[in-house]
């Protein structure tokens, strides 16, 4: 057999692709991150805020360990990691080979701009005469034929749109670095990779296909992405909501759900639209409290962790909800206002006028997916999404090719992130034997600056053509800077980013013997890595050089103020000199890692994580409280899931790397990421002590024990689980009517969350009943049917089979009575004056999960719990299985309710996040971390309390606070909180800040 290749091709650079790329890169694989468009970011970069805080927080995707390997900036500006190579503008044209050993051919579309030379100054776009619709802003604005995808594009390089360029050559003439080469040919590139991950994302449904909504004809009918762009600060209106027809703020806005989904042609639920409609309406209400916002919907599918609370928040903020599907929209040709025609739930027709209508367009497969599917030889389903098996939702029909994000079906950010980590896990499992083989080795250079050596500072300033030179008086700036203490040279060397200049800089540093460097150029995102690599070669360490932003923070924003701008430039350089003068060499702390994982809980989630970690070569200890593996999944009585669960248990039992401790509990844990010590107690009283690098919490949840609706008092009232058990054995012969009640013990005050599985479970059971006994009447009394994604088909199937769905509202729950031995359920019907009364033989309660008593474990691990008692993740969207304590992960029902397929994804994601940490023998802390001046420390504990990462503790014996360097993220919150000045942040010590302030005056 051929040796495997430790590299992965990731197709698509949206949030999914980025997450996968980071996960694989962190765990020792090379990643080629490709995208069809000239910049990465996908749909995500078009949005600025999202659930749950309506903020960005995208930076939380960045690696936590060895973080200095990766750029530490906003991800919208920069993405660089030694193991990730970005290949924008590219598409796969051929794939041959086998899992572990593929050859992929890429076609890289030429930008007609030489990437290394472009400084993104934008002069070219200024002279370009061609204007076309800007697809990033969905046509709400124009762009030039030479453009960047968005103002913060990654990579920040211009490119020419071949179709629209007239080749007039104006840009070629004006470009100061001669970066434009019209007719530069496309290139082909062949990559050797071990696995391929498709995360090509989805497109929004072309809403103009629904003619009765008038999109394209009526100016004020917009899509949700257009609304997002109108609300975006980087959008065409700078974040001001102005309707297209008259640029006035709308007073009445309607948001229409399910446009292009849940219809006969596309019988799936697009999953994400309810949540983004809620978000948009909350944002609208916040920015424009007097604007009326109405959401027209069929079901509000807020099924994820804390989504229901968000739904309530929208209600509280005054958003109106109307349960109906709008049949058509008419425009008033004069006012351009829109009339919505619909029939409400009570049968009355509605016709109301709105200033603006927003269509929540469904996620549809990307148009390139069918072609890509043919090239990669993977199957797509009836709608064109990549087909995946039921229990491994990131696998495709082709071994070694995996899929993540919305390429395999509608997915929100959180789901995409989970799938992406899971796909990374699958890929890493295929090529785990080649880990660290294709990694980019970062070379370690010798560093000059010694602690007590006198500072010799070299300063290099960039004109950026005329971009900086036109605003800053260089002669003056250079003259004053030369006089500063410790400055050995100030040089004006042209474009700092160009190769020749960097050579000059290296020569100059060597010649002058400088041990510290200041580069006065553009924003740090553009050339940080290039400068750092160059300076490293001549012995200047990352902590010993600094960038001063003369372009974005100075020249570009102070155009007509030459004198003041020059003074500011002089001050900024003086401040940087003063900071660097007292800068100490920073070295990262290195810590060995125990390549072994502890998994608490032997349910399907824990077992899956264990299996994938073991298959990637790590040892695993499972601690299970009961005497049996499998947890909740043992309650699934139907054939296919049951045999799947059995298969997993068998594989775990047979895997030599996995040690199973049944009837055991964890009673104590100490240490931190990379090195934990756990005490495991078994029921026979024995206590074992083991070492682990990471911990996965998979302790599951409890079934809700209903007290409602006569459960426990009348034998005819049972739960869905009990029904399923009976159905598997078919013990239902006598029932002629079955009534199911949804949301029992969930979505109420005591448990304000949706359990997400009960609707699908109820529908599956109802279909089973109808298959076996078509004459049995089945009623499902529900609030919103949560058949998200492709589960919608089952909802349709159930209705076709004759299952009757009846809504009830919160606060008007059904009433159950037994009199004369009959069991009667009474429920309100919006279309009827009285109540609907159903006599039933069997009443089935759809109950969900409630959290286990997690307090003890949470306290032991210093973890937080949610208001509902589940473990709290560090970030809902971008780090859904990570906890605030690095090295501890959560998965399965301990995190939130999920179904079997979703549990597998989450468990794989947790396994991959764990593997990221365990795959290195040593982990490095950041260079910039906090430290303790032991002489000043009074051991008061304030720093321990304020640290968000539990990176400090008190050494009671020596009466001093201690930093756990590996956990410290370098925020410096402790340094500010310390009353004695004992806590300090490296590279931003008080004396440095003070001297910087002094230098400004």
């Amino acid at each position: 057999m051929q040796e495997k290749v430790g590299a992965v091709l990731v197709i698509g650079g949206g949030v999914g692709g980025i997450r996968t790329a980071f996960d694989l890169a962190e765990s020792g694989f090379k990643v080629y991150l490709t995208d069809r468009s000239p910049g990465i970011g996908g749909t995500l970069y078009q949005l600025e805020t999202w659930f749950p805080d309506n903020q960005c927080e995208l930076c939380k995707l960045l690696p936590v360990f060895n973080r200095d390997e990766c750029s530490q900036f906003c991800l919208r500006r920069d993405l660089s990691h030694p193991n990730i190579e970005l290949i924008p503008n590219s598409s796969v044209t051929k794939l041959t080979g086998e899992p572990g050993n593929f050859k992929a051919t890429l076609n890289i579309k030429s930008r007609w701009v030489i990437e290394e030379k472009c400084t993104a100054c934008g002069l070219c776009a200024g002279v370009c005469p061609v204007e076309v619709d800007d697809e990033f802003n969905r046509g709400l604005q124009k762009r030039k034929a030479i453009y960047v995808r968005n103002p913060q594009s990654v990579p920040n390089v211009y490119s020419i749109d071949h179709e629209n360029c007239t080749k007039c050559g104006k840009c070629v003439t004006i470009c100061p670095t001669k970066a434009i080469a019209l007719n530069m040919p496309d290139t082909k590139r062949e990559l050797a990779v071990g696995a391929v991950i498709v995360s090509s994302g989805s497109n929004e449904f072309d809403v103009s296909r629904i003619g009765q909504y008038g999109y394209g004809r009526y100016a004020n009918v917009l899509t949700n992405i257009q609304l997002e762009r109108l609300l975006a600060n980087t959008g065409p209106t700078g974040g001001e909501l102005l309707r297209p027809s008259d640029k006035k703020a709308p007073n009445k806005i309607a948001i229409l759900q399910c446009v292009g989904s849940r219809d006969t042609e596309r019988n799936y639920c697009s999953e994400v639209c309810c949540m983004y409609a809620l978000k948009e309406s909350i944002m609208l209400k916040k920015q424009y409290p007097d604007t009326e916002v109405t959401i027209f919907y069929m079901d509000i599918r807020a099924f994820g962790k804390d989504y229901y609370r968000y739904h309530l928040r929208a209600q509280d903020s005054g958003v109106k909800f109307a349960r109906c599907r709008v049949s058509r929209i008419r425009e008033n040709p004069k006012s351009k206002n829109l009339f919505l025609l619909a029939r409400a739930e009570d049968g009355k027709s509605i016709s109301s006028e709105y200033d603006m209508v927003v269509l929540s367009a469904a996620q549809c497969p990307s148009p390139h997916l069918s072609e890509l599917g043919k090239i990669l030889n993977i199957h797509t389903n009836q709608w064109g999404f990549v087909e995946t098996p039921e229990f491994y939702p990131t696998r495709t029909s082709h071994n070694g090719i995996f899929v993540s994000g919305s390429a395999s079906g509608p997915s929100d950010i959180c789901e995409t992130v989970l799938k992406s980590s899971a796909a990374a896990c699958e890929a890493a499992t295929v090529i785990s034997s080649a880990r660290h083989q294709s990694e980019t080795k970062t070379s370690e250079h010798e560093h000059k600056a010694e602690q007590d050596e006198e500072a010799k500072i070299a300063i290099f300033v960039c004109h950026c053509g005329e971009e900086i030179g036109a605003v800053v008086d260089f002669e003056k700036t250079l003259a004053s800077t030369k006089k500063l203490l410790n400055v050995v040279t100030v040089e004006d060397v042209g474009f700092l980013c160009q190769k020749e200049t960097l050579e000059k800089i290296k020569r100059s540093v060597t010649k002058t013997g400088a041990n510290r460097v200041i580069m006065a150029a553009c924003a740090p995102y553009h050339y940080y890595r290039l400068f750092n690599d160059t300076l490293n070669e001549v012995g200047i360490d990352a902590s010993m050089w600094q960038l001063v932003n003369f372009r974005e923070e100075l020249a570009w924003v102070h155009k007509d103020k030459r004198d003041l701008a020059t003074a500011k430039a002089q001050n900024l350089l003086a401040m940087a000199v003063d900071r660097l003068r007292t800068q100490e060499t920073l070295t990262a702390q290195v810590m060995a890692v125990t390549p072994k994982c502890l998994i608490v809980g032997g349910g399907i989630s824990g077992l899956t994580s264990a299996l994938f970690l073991a298959e990637q070569g790590f040892e695993v200890d499972i601690v299970e409280r009961t005497g049996e593996l499998g947890g909740h999944s043992r309650q699934i009585y139907f054939d296919s899931p049951q045999s799947f669960v059995k298969g997993i248990i068998e594989k775990v039992n047979n895997n030599l790397k996995i040690k199973i401790n049944l009837n055991s509990e964890v009673i104590g844990i100490s240490g931190n990421a990379g090195n934990y010590k756990a005490r495991i107690k078994s029921t026979d009283g024995k206590i074992a002590e083991t070492n682990h690098g990471a911990i996965i919490i998979a302790t599951g949840a409890k079934d809700y024990q209903p007290t409602e609706y006569l459960y426990g008092k009348d034998k005819r009232v049972i739960t869905q689980h009990e029904l399923q058990k009976r159905l598997a054995e078919w013990k239902l012969d006598k029932a002629s009517t079955v009534v199911m009640i949804q949301c029992v013990g969930s979505r109420n005050n005591a448990h304000p969350y949706c359990n997400r599985v009960c609707c699908s479970e109820a529908i599956a059971n109802a279909i089973k009943i109808k298959e076996k006994s078509p004459d049995t009447q089945v009623f499902i009394l529900n609030r919103d049917i949560m058949t998200y994604g492709f589960k919608e088909q089952n909802y349709t199937k159930a209705r076709e089979a004759g299952v009757l769905f009846q809504r009830y509202e919160a606060g008007k729950e059904p009433e159950v009575n037994t009199s004369n031995r009959t069991l009667t359920v009474a429920v309100n019907d919006p279309g009827l004056p009285g109540k609907l009364e159903i006599e039933t033989d069997l009443l089935v309660l759809s109950t969900g999960y409630v959290a286990e008593d997690n307090q003890t474990l949470a306290k032991m691990l210093s973890l937080e719990l949610t208001a509902d008692g589940f473990f709290k993740e560090v970030d809902t969207k971008f780090r859904p299985v990570d906890t605030i304590i690095d090295g501890i992960f959560i998965t399965g029902l301990a995190n939130a309710p999920r179904n079997l397929g979703e549990k597998i994804i989450e468990a794989q994601a947790a396994a991959q996040r764990t593997a990221n940490l365990l795959s290195r023998d040593k982990i490095k802390s950041g260079r910039v971390i906090s430290e303790v001046d032991a002489h000043r420390c009074s051991c008061c504990g304030i720093c321990v309390e304020v640290c968000p990462f539990e990176a400090r503790y008190l050494d009671e014996d020596n009466k001093v606070a201690v930093v756990k360097e590996i956990l410290c993220q370098g925020c410096g919150i402790c340094a500010t909180a310390c009353p004695n000045g004992a806590a300090k942040l490296r590279s931003l010590k008080d004396k440095q800040v003070f001297s910087m302030i002094d230098a400004a005056f």
Binding site: Q55, C56, A523, E552, V557, K559, L564, I997
Partner: protein, 144 residues
């Protein structure tokens, strides 16, 4: 409009966090939003690093105003740094008031990475407001 030649040019020190307000300042540049050059930025990793002492020091060294910019509440790269910063600035302003010092010279703003225009707007605002207040005497008033 005739420009007055002796217009007072305030000097302002601004502490900008690396993740949000600092990134917004760069975006303002990319979009060529114009604002006066009176604010001298000092980049910090988190607004939670900004010790009130730094702000006092800036005023004592001759700054006419001092500002701190961080991520919006709820959106801190370090989970809760900006909440702490917010509380510290609130306290600092309170202390200033009780000492009879001008607390209007202490500013805090939450500007996210995509709010380039917002950043430029704030730069204009703080410069104009400080200009109206006139030179700060805080640097000279301490004859100890």
């Amino acid at each position: 409009m005739a420009e007055t030649k002796e217009q007072f040019e305030p000097k302002i020190i601004g502490f900008l966090c690396n993740w949000c307000t600092g990134a917004a300042s760069d975006l303002a540049g990319t979009t060529r939003a114009q604002y006066p050059p009176n604010v001298h930025p000092i980049r910090v990793m988190c607004s939670g690093t900004v010790d009130p002492v730094y702000m006092i020091k800036a005023l004592l060294s001759g700054a006419d105003s001092v500002m701190m910019g961080g991520c919006h509440p709820g959106d801190c790269h370090y989970v809760s740094g900006n909440y702490k910063a917010r509380r510290r600035v609130a306290m600092l302003k309170q202390i200033f008031k009780s000492l009879g010092l001008d607390d209007n010279r202490v500013w805090a703003r939450w500007i996210s990475a995509s709010e380039g225009p917002e950043f430029a707007k704030f730069m204009n605002q703080i410069t104009e407001e400080t200009r109206k207040q006139g030179p700060s005497s805080m640097a000279n008033d301490w004859a100890i």
